[in-house]
Symmetry: C2
Subunit: 196 residues, 2 copies
C-alpha cells in the first residue's frame, strides 16, 4: 500500500469504496433494505458520485456479481490443473472454507444472497461458469474411474450442497468453531459419497 498523503486524509478510489460499502450492506441487510443513502454514507461519497460510476443501484450489484464470479472462475481454473479428482475437490473445499473465514462478505454474497430477486434475467449462479466447471470435474473423475459411477449432476449436488450448507451454518453463527475444525469430517463424508 502506497500512502500518497497522510493516512487520515488518504485518497481512495471512489468506485472501489462504493463497491466495498455495497457488498457489506447488501450481504448484511439485503439488497432491498439497503438504500443509496446507506451506501453513500458508508462509502463516504455523494449521491452524484455513485451515479457517476454506476448507471443505477442494480448496476452496483451487477458489478459485484461479475467480480465475484470472475475471481471464483480464476481460482477454479487453477485448481483444475491438479491432476486427479480427489485433489481437485479437496482443494475446492479448502478454498471455500478458507474464503468463508477470511472474506465472509464475499462468501455470503455467493452462497446466501438471492441474486435473482434484483438481477433480473441473469443466469443463476448455479449455472454460471464456476459451477459448470464443477460438474465437468465430476464427469472427468467418473470417466477416469476416480469417482463412483453416478449422475454427475448428483455428484456435484452432493458436493456443493454439503459445502454450501456448512458455510451457511457458519455464517449464521450456528457453528461455534472455525470451519477448518469441521474440514476433516466434512471431507471424509463427501469423499465416501463420491469415491468408487
Amino acid at each position: 500500500m502506497v500512502a500518497t498523503s497522510l493516512d487520515t486524509v488518504e485518497k481512495k478510489n471512489p468506485k472501489e469504496e462504493i463497491m466495498k460499502a455495497a457488498l457489506r450492506l447488501f450481504t448484511e441487510k439485503g439488497y432491498f433494505n439497503t438504500s443509496i443513502a446507506d451506501i453513500r454514507q458508508l462509502a463516504d461519497v455523494s449521491t452524484g458520485t455513485i451515479y457517476h460510476y454506476f448507471k443505477n443501484k442494480e448496476a452496483i450489484a451487477e458489478a459485484l456479481f461479475e467480480e465475484v464470479v470472475h475471481s471464483l472462475e480464476d481460482s477454479i481454473r487453477e485448481i483444475r490443473k491438479l491432476n486427479n479428482a480427489f485433489e481437485r475437490l479437496r482443494a475446492i473445499v479448502e478454498l471455500f472454507f478458507e474464503l468463508t473465514e477470511n472474506e465472509p462478505e464475499i462468501m455470503r454474497f455467493i452462497v446466501v444472497v438471492r441474486h435473482q430477486e434484483f438481477l433480473g434475467n441473469r443466469p443463476s449462479l448455479s449455472l454460471s461458469p464456476p459451477f459448470q466447471k464443477l460438474t465437468q470435474i465430476m464427469e472427468e473423475g467418473i470417466r477416469a474411474g476416480e469417482l463412483r459411477r453416478m449422475d454427475p449432476i448428483v455428484a456435484s449436488g452432493v458436493f456443493y450442497g454439503t459445502v454450501a450448507r456448512m458455510i451457511q451454518l457458519r455464517l449464521e453463527g450456528v457453528l461455534e468453531k472455525r470451519l477448518d475444525w469441521y474440514l476433516l469430517d466434512t471431507w471424509t463424508a463427501i469423499w465416501r459419497a463420491l469415491s468408487p
Copy 2:
C-alpha cells in the same frame, strides 16, 4: 372440496386466498418485488380485506412461515416414529422430493426464500424446530451405531445440504427429469457418507 354455490361464483375464504396469492408471488418474484396491489389482484380481494385479516405485509409472510414450519414439524414428527436412522432419513428425502414436485411453491419458500430479509429477528429456518429435530435424529443414529461416528452437525449438513441443493436445481429448471428420477443416486450418496 365443498362447493357451497355454483363453481363460477364460488365463495372462497379470503384469508386463504390472500395467503395462497402471497405465497405464489413471494416465491416467484420475491417479497420486495411483490406489492399489496399484486396480492390484492391475484387474490381477488380489496385492499381493505387484506388489512382486515393481516396487520401489514410482513404479517402475511409471518403467517406463511408459521404454517410451513408447523406442517414440516408434523411431518418430521411422524417420521421420527420410524425405528431406525436409515428409514427415517430415507423418508425425509422422499418427503422433500415429493413435496418439491407437488407443492413447488411451498418448497421454494422453505429452501430458497431468504426469510431474514423481511422477517426481522425471527430465528433463521436453519435453527427452527424441524431442523433441530434433524440433528437429533443424527445424534440418536450415531449413538445407536447406525450412523458413522462423526460430528452430528456435519452429518445433518451433508444430509440437508445435498437434499436442498438437488431441490434448488430442480426448482431452477436445471434438472430435466423429475426429482424421483434422481432419488436412488442421491440416497446412495448420502447413505455412503453417513453409514458406518
